[in-house]
């Protein structure tokens, strides 16, 4: 179905309706964006803070402690978190949801998402499942529109999204030959005025209605590929409004280009400054190029932690309703990148494959990273969606931040896929508990029963049976210390009842060292005690010629986190990596 079958007048009439619809839609899109941002905020606020012991039972929403019998809370069907009675919202006489799940449901209704989902069930193969028919018609009309503009030659505008080297060279070109520049300037003005007349249908003063320019904003770029226009001669181009518009657009473009730049490859930023210079000189040809690329859509994720392999796992399910990375060509080749903030090192980055030509990509990829359960609590999961345009050029499409401090990885029911609304870039993850992490401590821990040493696979160590807790320090990563120092590690196992056991490794010179040198053994402990024990490990820099040794970092392992893997498999080594927090004041070892 297309509009070309209608008579010209009828077509104008329908187009006028479609334009009205477009205005309504843009108001609606803004509203939905706001709704989703609010939801994201609520989710962040509901995150547990790290100051509490993990084993403590608290309401996942307000963090009030929950009792064993009295006010013990109940599990929310939506998120499987334990929720106090105050943080529940009734959805029916027999059903409640936690505040966050309720808000999520609310957004799903208020954003019309329910409708998209229902319709996708009936028409699963429609690619443009979020577009309305009005939108599609309007687009197709603008493509075949006879009101068009001559593309500037060479078109410096098209280089906005190409790698820096191309951009710079073509900028030089356009500077060297001013002719096409002026030419396109004329064409642009004429097309503007023609368009305005079409719309207002009044042959009167164009300058009197500068607002109309905004109405038509965005249609120019679509018709750029079209060929020449017929213009009646006696039209007055409106310089002021045109110029004003252009300036606005350049500004808008600057804004969006910094948003586009994001945190991707640093090689990009140099190209950008060049681009900005370029754009200000080719102002007039830029009109209508960039519709500020708003972040839309959702990302489907599932989070899990494998205690047997000490791996954090993210399942990236799918995305839906992404904005086009290349708004001009309506192209999108999305992929998802995952970090565990604050760690942004390249080596720990996890990435999905790039899916071509879709705004609703399906990834179904599992990304893994070996990391201690304990370490996760201080991390924020950052999953960002990018459009891969060229090898070097990536466009930011939105991100999801999930603070992991309140995530119940122990609870297998939290592992299902969930949709998260994508958000624009945030300056700093609001992890709350993000601390100065100085490095990472890699360990192996084992609990072995002294009495059952022969029965290797025995899982049945009684709670009061005395055993031996062994810690082997495998390495210290990323700790910034001078190369020639030696170090040792002090371990302090705090057991219930004010009992403390302190162990120290010998001083070890830098470089590969035998693992035994780093072994700490705590004898005569029972599983029962370990359950509530905490292990503090300190990395000390040994300075043989100075008076005092220097504390470089501290790591702690406590409570259920320490105990859980040991209990699940005794007599077996478990790998653990712990965050090393930088030392603030020097102490004596």
């Amino acid at each position: 179905m297309d509009l070309s079958l209608l008579q010209a007048l009828e077509r104008e009439k329908v187009l006028e309706v479609l334009q009205r619809d477009k205005t309504l839609r843009s108001v609606e899109e803004d509203r939905i964006r706001r709704l989703k941002l609010e939801l994201q905020e609520l989710r962040r606020r509901g995150a547990k803070s790290f100051c509490r012991q993990y084993s403590e039972r608290t309401c996942a929403r307000c963090q009030r402690p929950l009792g064993k019998f009295w006010n013990s809370g109940a599990v929310c069907r939506g998120c499987s978190h334990r929720i106090c009675s105050k943080c529940r919202v009734c959805v029916s006489p027999h059903e409640w949801k936690c505040t966050v799940c309720h808000a999520y449901r609310d957004v799903k209704i208020k954003s019309g998402e329910w409708f998209m989902e229902e319709r996708a069930k009936k028409f699963p193969r429609e690619t443009d499942k979020h577009d309305t028919i009005g939108e599609i018609l309007l687009r197709s009309y603008q493509r075949l529109s006879y009101i068009a503009i001559v593309p500037p030659t060479p078109p410096p505008v098209q280089n906005v999204f190409t790698p820096p080297f191309n951009r710079l060279s073509s900028w030089k070109n356009s500077k060297g030959s001013p002719k096409p520049f002026t030419k396109s300037m004329e064409d642009l003005m004429m097309s503007f005025t023609t368009r305005i007349k079409k719309i207002s249908k009044s042959q009167e003063d164009v300058r009197a209605e500068p607002d109309l320019l905004t109405v038509e904003h965005g249609s120019i770029d679509r018709s750029q590929s079209d060929t020449a226009i017929n213009i009646s001669a006696n039209q007055v181009p409106c310089f002021q409004s045109l110029f004003k518009r252009s300036k606005e657009q350049v500004q808008e473009r600057r804004r969006s280009s910094s948003a586009l730049c994001g945190d991707e490859d640093t090689s990009q930023s140099s190209g950008y400054s060049g681009e900005k210079r370029g754009s200000s000189s080719s102002t007039s040809t830029d009109c209508g190029l960039i519709e500020s690329s708003g972040v839309t859509g959702e990302l489907e994720l599932a989070l899990a932690y494998s205690f047997s392999s000490s791996c954090f796992e993210v399942v990236v399910g799918a995305c839906r309703n992404l904005t086009h990375g290349d708004t001009k060509k309506k192209k999108c080749h999305p992929y998802v990148k995952v970090y565990l903030l604050p760690d942004k090192s390249q080596s720990t980055k996890m990435k999905t494959a790039v899916i071509k030509n879709t705004t609703d990509p399906i990834f179904q990829e599992t990304l893994q990273r070996s990391i201690a359960r304990e370490l996760l609590a201080s991390r924020t999961l950052q999953a960002s969606v990018w459009h891969s345009e060229t090898l070097r050029r990536k466009v930011f499409l939105g991100e999801v931040l999930i603070p992991l401090d309140s995530w119940r990885f122990e609870d297998s029911s939290t592992q299902g896929l969930m949709w998260y609304p994508l958000c624009p870039k945030t300056e700093q993850p609001q992890g709350g508990s993000v601390e100065q992490v100085a490095g990472e401590l890699l360990l192996r821990v084992k609990f072995s029963s002294l009495t059952q040493i022969c029965k290797l696979n025995s899982t049945g160590i009684g709670p009061y049976e005395v055993g031996q807790f062994t810690v082997v320090i495998i390495g210290v990563q990323n700790l910034s210390s001078s190369k020639h120092t030696s170090s040792f590690i002090k371990g302090c196992l705090a057991l219930p009842g004010e009992r403390e056991m302190v162990q120290r490794t010998p001083v070890v010179k830098k470089g590969p060292s035998p693992a035994q040198a780093h072994q700490l053994t705590f004898s005569r402990v029972t599983p029962h005690e370990l359950q509530d024990a905490s292990l503090q490990l300190e990395v000390w820099e040994h300075a043989p010629f100075s008076v005092a040794d220097k504390l470089q970092g501290t790591a702690t392992l406590h409570g259920g986190l320490l105990w859980q893997p040991l209990q699940q498999a005794p007599n077996v080594w478990h790998s653990v990596s712990l965050p090393l927090r930088a030392n603030i004041n020097n102490r004596k070892p």
């Binding site: 609606e28 529940r88 309305t132």
Partner: protein, 230 residues
């Protein structure tokens, strides 16, 4: 039942995003049954006796306050609803255009003219058009017999129409765009159905959550059988 939507403060602030729901309804039916006039009555409370046939499509807007019933029976919260009311051309030659718009509407006003037996007979065809093009197999529809004020010219009996509506399992109203009788009620009933549908769609339990998050629901520990706190 929900309360009648009240007229929004009659200001001209229809262009802002200060509303809770955007609900898209669509009127369909033969040419001349009074779709345009009906919607004009609903949004502006006026009657236009002139027949200006609709070209292709059009829409009107209205903001209303919707008061839902809370689950425990008391009067619930009020929401601001922005209604986008699509008006389609009944003429055959626009058919491909108008039916394409069916896919974006959440609820339908299927109209016929009480003074035209033919327009009533065509309801069947419109129903099958809806089934093929609407967002789901059984969308929310209200059957409207219009021009009830022209009693002496009536060709369709209420019983007849009611039977057909019952067969489809949809509500039926006899309205008059000329006097305004039952116009609001027909629209509000449809709005109510759509609002309920939205809730059902998101609250549907694990049944169709199999496509993805099924595991989380199935493995969830049993919920405490405690009464809700609210």
């Amino acid at each position: 039942m929900s309360q009648f939507p009240e007229r929004f403060s009659a200001g001209s602030t229809m262009t802002d995003g200060d509303y809770d729901y955007l609900i898209k309804l669509l009127a369909l039916g033969d040419s001349g049954v009074g779709k345009t006039t009906f919607l004009y009555r609903y949004t502006d409370n006026k009657f236009n006796p002139k027949f200006i046939t609709t070209v292709g499509i059009d829409f009107r807007e209205k903001r209303v306050v919707y008061t839902a019933n809370s689950p425990n029976g008391t009067t619930g919260k009020s929401f601001k609803v922005h209604l986008q009311l699509w008006d389609t051309a009944g003429q055959e030659r626009f058919r491909s255009l108008t039916t394409a718009f069916f896919r974006d509407a959440m609820g339908f006003l299927l109209m016929f003219d009480l003074t035209s037996q033919q327009s009533f007979l065509n309801v069947r065809n419109w129903m099958s058009q809806l089934q093929a093009n609407a967002y789901c197999e059984n969308p929310d529809i209200v059957l409207v017999g219009n021009k009830a004020d022209l009693a002496d010219q009536r060709e369709v009996q209420e019983k007849q129409a009611k039977e057909l509506a019952d067969k489809y399992g949809i509500p039926y109203f006899e309205t008059s765009a000329a006097t305004g009788t039952e116009v609001d009620k027909a629209v509000v009933t449809l709005l109510d159905l759509v609002m309920k549908r939205m809730e059902q769609c998101v609250d549907k339990p694990a049944l169709d959550a199999q496509n993805g998050e099924g595991t989380s629901k199935l493995d969830a520990p049993p919920v405490n059988e405690k009464k809700c706190a609210c």
